[in-house]
């Protein structure tokens, strides 16, 4: 049997209400998903790359700490001009010491076993123009190296490093050597 007018009307509104309820329910679910999605997105944007940066920063500070623990920060530098009796001087200027420390670090990084180790049997007179640089750390043993022309010889490790022209110029400036 077909429905009467009132039955049809009631059915239309009943179905409409049901559909509106379903629509609201769907919208509510969707709205609850939006903040969740945003949280995940923000986490992906800020937290994960941040973690990566923190890790690399941690690694960097650990390395610096380890380097510092090995010999401690350099307090002063003692320079001795070989072949010239009594010619030695001290560098206490903090800036110069820091620059020298940086220069030594970079030289040490690329230092290698020497093919011709410096001849220690040479007489003092034959060593004119060479320098012994001794770095005195705040704590620990002093480290000394020999500067022969453009080559730096680390006496502790027995390795040598060839200085670049810029490094030579900077070293001469720090050590107050005539260029």
């Amino acid at each position: 049997m077909m429905r009467s007018f009132e039955e049809r009307k009631a059915e239309i509104f009943r179905r409409s209400e049901k559909r509106i309820r379903e629509q609201r329910h769907r919208r509510r679910i969707l709205l609850s998903c939006v903040p969740l999605f945003l949280c995940v997105l923000l986490a992906a944007i800020f937290v994960l790359p941040g973690r990566g940066t923190n890790e690399s920063a941690d690694r960097e500070s650990q390395r610096a700490e380890a380097a510092e623990n090995a010999s401690g920060p350099i307090a002063s530098v003692h320079v001795e001009a070989l072949g010239q009796a009594g010619a030695s001087w001290e560098i206490g200027d903090e800036k110069a010491v820091r620059a020298l420390s940086r220069l030594f670090e970079s030289a040490q990084e690329r230092s290698e076993e020497p093919s011709f180790p410096p001849d220690s049997s040479l007489a003092q007179a034959d060593r004119i123009g060479d320098f012994r640089i001794t770095c005195v750390p705040e704590s620990g043993e002093p480290v000394s190296c020999l500067l022969e022309n453009e080559t730096l010889y680390f006496e502790g490790s027995g390795k040598t490093a060839v200085l670049t022209v810029e490094e030579q110029a900077e070293l001469a400036r720090i050590l107050q050597l005539p260029q």
Binding site: M1, F5, R8, K9, I12, F13, R15, R19
Partner: protein
């Protein structure tokens, strides 16, 4: 005549009685139109109820650029085709039920098609292919314009024109002398 658009505007403004007016004016015609597709009066009524509930749920979808009747028939056609697509299983009906359904269909036909001659045309229309039948139904029974019928059928005006021309030719053959008057 605005075919319900004015009543719908009133309904949107909160006048509940306007919805009754729309239903009285358009519901039976819509059921009759959908029945042409689904050939099941109860399913057609059900689909028409769904179409009307669309009007209540999605109030902003109707943009008043076409008449409300055209809009409802567009929705009706779409729902009817969808129903037909999903109706794969043949259902068996008891003879008594079939007689009842036939009787109800006749009643609806008498409500929608008051004119005796129109009923004769409607009977002949059943023998025509779907597009021709729908075109004749919309233009002669529902008195939609060619443009509106084209919109409902999702065809161009020219296509509707061609369908009508061919439908008239067929109807003249089927109805004999009566067909000449169409």
């Amino acid at each position: 005549m605005d075919n319900g658009a004015c009543s719908y505007r009133r309904f949107l403004d909160g006048d509940e009685s306007a919805f009754d007016e729309i239903m009285k004016e358009l519901f039976d015609g819509l059921v009759f139109f959908i029945n042409g597709y689904v050939h099941d009066l109860h399913a057609a009524e059900d689909l028409a109820i769904d179409v009307f509930s669309d009007l209540v749920v999605h109030k902003s979808r109707y943009n008043f650029k076409v008449t409300l009747k055209t809009y409802l028939f567009m929705l009706g056609r779409s729902r009817a085709l969808n129903y037909r697509k999903h109706q794969r299983v043949l259902s068996f009906t008891e003879l008594s039920e079939a007689e009842n359904a036939l009787c109800e269909e006749r009643t609806l036909e008498e409500t929608v098609l008051v004119d005796e001659r129109r009923r004769a045309v409607n009977a002949a229309l059943a023998k025509l292919p779907d597009p021709m039948r729908v075109a004749v139904h919309l233009i002669y029974f529902e008195e939609l314009s060619y443009a509106e019928a084209a919109k409902v059928m999702k065809k161009t005006r020219k296509q509707v024109d061609n369908l009508l021309y061919r439908a008239k030719k067929e109807l003249r053959t089927l109805l004999g002398e009566d067909g000449e008057q169409i």
